[in-house]
């Protein structure tokens, strides 16, 4: 479903965000993407959405070779992906129902009756049927994020990408969100979750891919968040540049 082969990304500023990443995510997989700030998680997600283009390497998502995808086909491609943002990003001036329906309208909505059926179904799945007519500002953070998930899945995407979906949420709300994501995954949706949330990753014991300095340093089948923050990289031995000749007294 997702294939990355030796993907590199260097920003125009010269910053190397990804230094050769190779990763395969089969259909129906559930994967946590972990790593510290600046490890390359955000860049990787941007590449998967084609919000950024890879500098080199191959990115294939849902059968689309994103390195070859023409600008005009990007909207069609994105319509096949469900996306959940860290900062939720619902339309503040649309009701919850309208927010979810918007996804369908974007991608060539079916008839109106069917639109409302699909929206209600999605809202039911995330348990927000009662709030359909409310505006995002009237909901708690966890509820807002569930609405965002409804928006992402209402189109029945093949892939769901969630960027820090539990950031800024209290633990119980976080846990609800994660349960929801695994439910969706059980329906066959390939799910990729970037997260900083140790409790979530350790609680689920699913596949964990860890990025560090733009490289994959760990890919575990039933992983945990990982050990304490990685030890600082050992300083380059001075001997590399200045061979130290052991001093011997004559």
């Amino acid at each position: 479903m997702i294939v990355l082969r030796n993907v590199k990304k260097t920003y125009p500023t010269g910053k190397v965000a990804l230094a050769g990443v190779t990763l395969g995510v089969p259909r129906g997989d559930f994967l946590f993407l972990v790593g510290g700030n600046g490890a390359g998680k955000s860049t990787l997600l941007k590449l998967l959405l084609r919000a950024e283009a890879a500098t080199s390497g191959v990115v294939i998502v849902a059968g689309h070779d994103l390195t070859q995808l023409p600008e005009s086909r990007i909207p069609t491609f994105r319509q096949q992906i469900g996306i959940v943002f860290q900062d939720i990003r619902l339309f503040a001036d649309k009701t919850i129902f309208e927010n979810v329906a918007f996804s369908l309208q974007v991608s060539g909505a079916p008839r109106r009756r069917k639109t409302s059926d699909l929206v209600n179904e999605a809202l039911d799945l995330v348990g927000l049927t009662a709030h359909a007519r409310r505006f995002p500002g009237q909901l708690s953070g966890g509820e807002q994020q569930r609405a965002a998930i409804a928006r992402a899945i209402v189109r029945s995407p093949q892939i769901l990408i969630a960027d820090e979906p539990t950031a800024n949420l209290p633990p119980d709300a976080s846990w609800q969100i994660v349960q929801l994501l695994t439910d969706i995954n059980r329906r066959g949706v390939t799910t990729l979750v970037a997260t900083h949330d140790r409790a979530v990753v350790d609680g689920l014991k699913r596949r964990v891919v860890e990025l560090q300095d733009g490289r994959i340093v760990r890919d575990q089948r039933f992983g945990t968040f990982g050990t304490a923050p990685a030890a600082a990289p050992s300083p380059t031995p001075s001997s590399t540049f200045w061979p130290v000749v052991p001093h011997r007294a004559a």
Binding site: I74, T76, D93
Partner: protein
Amino acid sequence: MVRTLSRVAEVVRYAVASAAVNFWRHRAMSLAAVFAAAVMMLMLNGFVIVVSNLNVALGALEQKVNVIAYLKDDAPPAEIAKLQDRLRANPLVADVTFLSKDDAMARLKQQLADRRDLLEMVTGNPLPASVEVRLKDANRIADLAAQLRRETVVEDVTLQQDVVDNLLRITNFARAAGIVMVASLVGITLFVIVNTIRLAVYARRQEIEIMKLVGATDWFIRWPFVLEGVLCGLLGALLTSALVGAAYEPMQLQFLSLVQFLPVNLEPDFPLRLAGLTAAVGVAIGAAGSYISVRRFLDV
């Protein structure tokens, strides 16, 4: 085909509905845009009214430009009649008046009514018959004069070339200046509208970004904004036309009493056509303003 059509219908429905909803939910911004449009178009209306009045006045002045062709005394009446017919068919000509030798004499007698002594010195009728030709376009006076000179029955042609030249120089300059001013005002109006709408769009840039990330095409995002701009432009135009409609009659009277020496008289349906023009400009400027404003926020 049917699918495409229903898709188009769906997008149109969506765009119209969300334009209306957005207009209402962001009504402070919408009102700002409507008033900006109204103020600018009010100025534009004022200018168009002044320039049109000026144009009518200039046209009236130009109407006074004519060419007189004096005819040979021995010209056969049939030829003279043919000449008049030819002139009436000529696209440059607005009006032809024939003055026979007798008419000319009668006119002279009338003009010299209090100097009978002078008239008594005249024996017979030395005055030639003439054809007085008024032009549709004063700019073509030299062409018409040349054509008249080629006529066999024409003895001589008079035109006050330097007077005509001066008049034309003034009227052409005034027209060009009017057009330049109206055009720059349209430009300024567009600029003001673009910036007003840009504020509104800027406030919603995140919305645009989300739309792009969930797979909306540029036009899907643009349409509601463009329609919203059209709505603002149209409302601004209505406001303008209402104000102008109320003020037009008294101001026109004022203006007429001010410049009595010029036969200024616009057609009675002028206010209606002005309102139509204002509406068209409002719609065009609203649409163009939104289009330009949204454009730079679409690069996500």
